[in-house]
Amino acid sequence: MYTVPLPRIGTDLAWRDAAKRLIGAAIPPEDVLWDFGGEMGELFATAAPLPPPSRRIKAPQSFIQMADTVVWHKDPQRFARLYAMLWRLRHETGLMQDRADQHLAKLRQMEKGVNRCKHKMKAFVRFRDLRQGGDRRSFAAWFEPTHHTVEPTAPFFARRFADMDWMIATPDVTAQFVDGNLSFHPGQPKPDLPKDGAEALWGAYFCNIFNPARVKIKAMTSEMPKKYWKNLPEAQHIHDLIAGAEAKVQKMQDAAPTIPPERAQRIRRQLRQQKGDDQ
């Protein structure tokens, strides 16, 4: 029996390295226990060292890509499921194309969950200005992802916000970007971030870009689930926007047509003259 410790930071590489060694030594899935972030405790700590790395192990590119994503899922079974799939792939070539295989379908579903979580993180992180002075501006955010997605998503923020320093703190892992260097640190409780005046402007925008004549609440919540709202400054307005929508539309419909302002006539006359001149 092998127990494989996997760290919270660098989980992807650690899993891949261990899986290669184990497959190389033909260790069947039932002889492997995966211990993420020391969650199993002392009980299983005494385990045989992993087999040495052996000849080059091959796996389909599509599996490697899928595994690189699935390792960040929160399901404790993810590592075992991946290893079981890798084990079958030794003999079942073409398995990756079989969308009807239920084990593969489950992994694909997990992959989708992680990808969605990554996408939502790119969308919903909200930075606050730390106003620290210096050459580079610095910002920080608190975020609570569903899966372990800080590490695989941080490079996106590094590509986008490269001329500023930033930190994304989560309960799980904290990403830091300082002077162009990205690093990861253990998670932390919610930090006290300074208030940011831009949030009021953003709120004003959110309220006014909304069209009260087209309320579609389900369309909103399916893409922006409520679990994210507590960290989105604009979400505090949602309740009032929905509550006031009908009255607003009614007011527009009830209003009697008005007489155009005087300048309208003047401008129209000018325009007509210009058109006449052009012809």
């Binding site: 969308r99 009807a100 996408h119 955010a141 490269a162 500023m164 009260p212 087209r214 008005t258 309208a264």
Partner: protein, 411 residues
């Protein structure tokens, strides 16, 4: 006059911008700022940073430079004859709002349009200046969409394309007659000419010259347009016919349909109806079928004699019910084209079927396992252990899908 606070301007000028349906930020050239000398990135698919309670994606800071306008388009809140409060951003304000919102990860970039002030050229040139400052002054590498003004000089449109990812010119209404009736200062011929100019500039930019060098990038995310639905009496057949011509002639990336919705201080010319949201949705579905599923306009609009889409059923299902003789199709043998016509099957489902059927003879359960939505497809397919029997031709098949008639309530 007292100066208006920035947040008041923002409120007025985003309120005025919300009737533009597009907020897309996808499909442009890849850029990032890894060199540390700029701000922003674009990577294929854009991101929706928030959703408003109208279910629409908020991806860009969508604002008007100003809502003063010398034109008098009946459907528009900014028309010269309306009493709406007016405001105007300075260039600096637009640049700062864009950059500060972007740094906080609220947006993918800017969608700037404007009412027409002084003249079309003056307005367009102010908009181009803002885009230029973002790109050159701030080294902004995020997304920029400029709504161009059709009557503006071609040189200005050319400059706009150098700074913007996307350009759009709204055709506004589905027919030339409607444009004349409701947007008297606009000229449909000028609008089409401007779209034609954008198309040919884009082509020139992508050709290599004899030295092998490419021209400067021009609007890498292409151009799009918008049509208002439900303000005039055009049928869906007319609307979709117009879209097909536009897609073909000007290589548009997207045609947006915007259900005409009540505006404050409306004109007596246009009644304030409830926005036809279902119709708008059906038009988007039909548009999709035209572009990615090999359907023709006449096929989609043939189901009803009045030239409108069936509001109760999605257009593919409506078509299948009209063409039952072609069904059921065998998922284990049918061609890709035919699979794409099965109600409920999307392009991704069809790809999965094609790759999986090389490994196994598909059963009903396999399709479920692959995540295929079977409720709609059931009557139209044959699988190894499934045939719909008489279901395909049953007289009440439509009622399985159409929503039940609305319950009457007491007055």
């Amino acid at each position: 006059m007292t100066r208006m606070a920035l947040s008041d301007k923002l409120a007025i000028l985003s309120d005025a911008a919300r009737y533009d349906a597009s907020c897309a930020s996808s499909g442009t050239a890849r850029r990032d700022s890894r060199d540390g000398k700029g701000l922003g990135s674009t990577e294929g698919s854009g991101i929706c940073h928030a959703y408003a309670p109208d279910g629409r994606c908020i991806s860009l800071l969508k604002i008007l430079m100003t809502n003063f306008c010398i034109y008098d388009c009946a459907y528009c809140i900014n028309r010269v004859s309306s009493h709406v409060r007016r405001a105007r951003f300075s260039a600096d304000e637009v640049v700062q709002l864009t950059i500060e919102f972007y740094r906080r990860n609220y947006i993918e970039g800017l969608f700037l349009s404007s009412g027409i002030i002084r003249s079309p050229d003056a307005t367009m040139s102010d908009m181009v200046q803002i885009a230029k400052r973002l790109r050159e002054g701030e080294n902004f590498r995020g997304y920029i969409h400029l709504k161009t003004i059709p009557d503006a000089a071609p040189e200005l449109i050319e400059q706009a394309g150098l700074y913007a990812d996307r350009l759009s010119i709204n055709v506004e209404l589905p027919t030339d007659n409607s444009v004349k009736a409701y947007a008297p200062e606009k000229n449909p011929v000028t609008i089409r000419k401007a779209m034609g100019d954008v198309k040919s500039r884009k082509e020139v930019a992508s050709e290599k010259s004899y030295t092998g060098k490419r021209g400067k990038r021009f609007a890498p995310a292409g151009q799009s347009t918008q049509m208002i639905v439900g303000a005039d009496r055009s049928t869906d057949a007319t609307i979709l016919g117009q879209s097909t011509r536009l897609y073909g002639a000007y290589q548009l990336r997207r045609v947006y349909y915007s259900a005409f919705s009540p505006i404050p201080d409306a004109t007596a010319q246009l009644p304030l109806i409830k926005p036809p949201l279902v119709r708008e949705h059906r038009l988007y579905q039909a548009d999709w079928l035209l572009r990615f599923y090999g359907f023709g306009v006449d096929e989609i609009t043939a189901a009803r004699p009045d030239g409108n889409l069936d509001l109760e059923l999605d257009p593919k299902l409506a078509w299948a019910l009209q063409n039952r003789a072609l069904f059921p199709v065998d998922v284990n043998r049918a061609s890709k084209d035919m699979l794409l016509r099965v109600p409920g099957f999307g392009t991704r489902t069809v790809d999965r079927i094609l790759s999986t059927r090389r490994h196994r003879n598909l059963r009903y359960g396999d399709l479920l396992q692959m995540g295929t939505p079977m409720k709609k497809a059931q009557p139209f397919i044959v699988a190894r252990d499934w045939t719909p029997g008489a279901l395909t031709d049953s007289a009440n098949l439509r009622t399985r899908f159409a929503p039940p008639p609305q319950q009457l309530s007491l007055l």
